[in-house]
């Protein structure tokens, strides 16, 4: 007597004992995906590397610009993303109301992470501002710096996780810069801004691009990261690298409509680093080896990371 597997399986599975509460699930999804490291009163927001360096001369001596190759002074400090402005939301407007903006009520949306948005905004006096805002949560953090800081002390905005173990960092760069790297992790520059998720012990950040001089910024570890920081393990490093890659892919998709061409761009921009960091990289996924036959796979669209291979 032959039995059809599909029919048997369908008959074997009972009806669910109860149903999920869609509204409750929706609330949970929203709250869990409100980026915890970027939002809310528990997050210590904004370190102002450039501002501190300007305000406190002795800090400049200690933290200042670590390295810049010849030719940095010749790089045009143009940011094309500033030409693509959109109206700011009410929370963003409120957060910037004490800053004289070159285009009041407008900013360039350069990154979206869940409900969190990052804007690049031009202020009067040739200042550039990075604004991180969660319109739903009503939280925001920002920093404004002279445009001339772009390739000297750096225009950087970061937020610490509540436990200070990691920080999410946005760095603004001029046209031509394509990659930001720190602690072995890299993120693609999209709309003149790169966003990285870092273990908080990282103190150096390098931005680079083909035919552009690489520049390294000092993130001023002691000033911005109170408390200890967890050492990075091979697993966490790989996960972090994959997370950064997924974030870059999502930003790329926002700009190009899909991730088609993303892998080629990364390979072209980051060069041999890609093959050393990732076992494989396609437009939709990437695999990193952990050693001992273990590997991590990231779905670039969702950012979901899973261990093991099919």
């Amino acid at each position: 007597m032959s039995r059809h597997l599909g029919e048997l399986l369908k008959g074997a599975v009972p009806e669910p004992a109860r149903v999920l509460n869609a509204d409750e699930l929706m609330r949970t999804a929203r709250s869990r995906n409100a980026p915890p490291r970027w939002a809310g009163p528990v997050v210590a927001t904004v370190f102002l590397v450039a501002a501190v360096a300007i305000a406190v001369p002795q800090v400049v001596a200690r933290w200042g610009h670590v390295a810049s190759t010849p030719g940095v002074a010749d790089v045009p400090l143009r940011l094309s993303a500033l030409d693509r402005r959109v109206p700011l939301g009410p929370v963003a407007v409120g957060a910037m109301d004490r800053t004289a903006l070159a285009h009041p009520g407008e900013g360039s949306l350069v990154a979206t992470l869940g409900q969190e948005q990052v804007y690049l905004i031009e202020a009067v006096g040739d200042q550039l501002c990075l604004l991180e805002v969660n319109e739903s949560y009503g939280s925001a953090g920002s920093g404004c710096f002279p445009r001339s800081d772009l390739l000297t002390t750096g225009i950087v905005l970061s937020t610490l996780a509540p436990d200070s173990s990691t920080m999410l960092l946005a760095v603004a760069v001029p046209d031509g810069y394509t990659v930001a790297t720190s602690g072995g992790r890299s993120a693609v520059v999209v709309s003149n801004v790169a966003v990285l998720d870092l273990v908080s012990s990282q103190t150096k950040l390098t931005v680079s691009g083909s035919a552009m001089p690489s520049v390294t910024f000092d993130l001023g570890k002691s000033a911005i990261l109170p408390g200890g920081s967890a050492p990075e393990t091979p697993g966490s490093a790989a996960k972090g690298a994959l997370s950064d890659l997924a974030r870059s892919a999502q930003l790329y998709a926002q700009e190009h409509g899909s991730t088609a061409g993303f892998a080629d761009k990364i390979k072209a921009d980051a060069g041999p680093v890609v093959s050393t960091k990732f076992r494989s990289l396609t437009d939709t996924s990437a695999v990193a080896d952990l050693g001992a036959g273990r590997r991590l796979t990231v779905d670039l669209l969702s950012g979901a990371i899973d261990e093991g291979a099919c």
Binding site: L8, L9, A12, P14, P16, L301, C310
Partner: protein, 167 residues
Amino acid sequence: LDTAEDFRRYVVLRQRALLRTAWLLTDDWQTAEDLVQTALIRAWPHWDRSGGGAGADAYVRRIMINKSTDWRRRRWRGEVPTEFLPDVASRGSDAELQHMLVLAVRALPPRQRAVMVLRYFDDLSEIETAAAMGCAVGTVKSQTSKALANLRHQPVLVDLQPLGSAR
């Protein structure tokens, strides 16, 4: 429809099917509910890009497969089986056969189990199954073959036919 309403409607309309799939991928209703909720919560931030309808199904299903495999792998390492399928069983009613089949499917390694559920319960094609599992069609074929062979090790399932559902 805005994104939130679209998501809410999807949960209402599709949760029964998702829960039943999850029940096969896991071992009980509680874990199945956890799996569906986890998948939906993880899918939410990217809901706009999931494409809705079949696209949303594929996206949520892929997360479910990844998470269930991950959860099961963790348990797999430390678990000591305390229950075994009987070596010989009478060929009784469909209900009994179905019960044995569920036990046998749940005893499969995670990937074989996933391929059985996707191919023969969710009626996905080999291509769709490969997409959901994030692997090649050839891998789906080989996993299917291994899974069927493993199921047929059970005397009551020896004449099981993989017909009628999977494309």
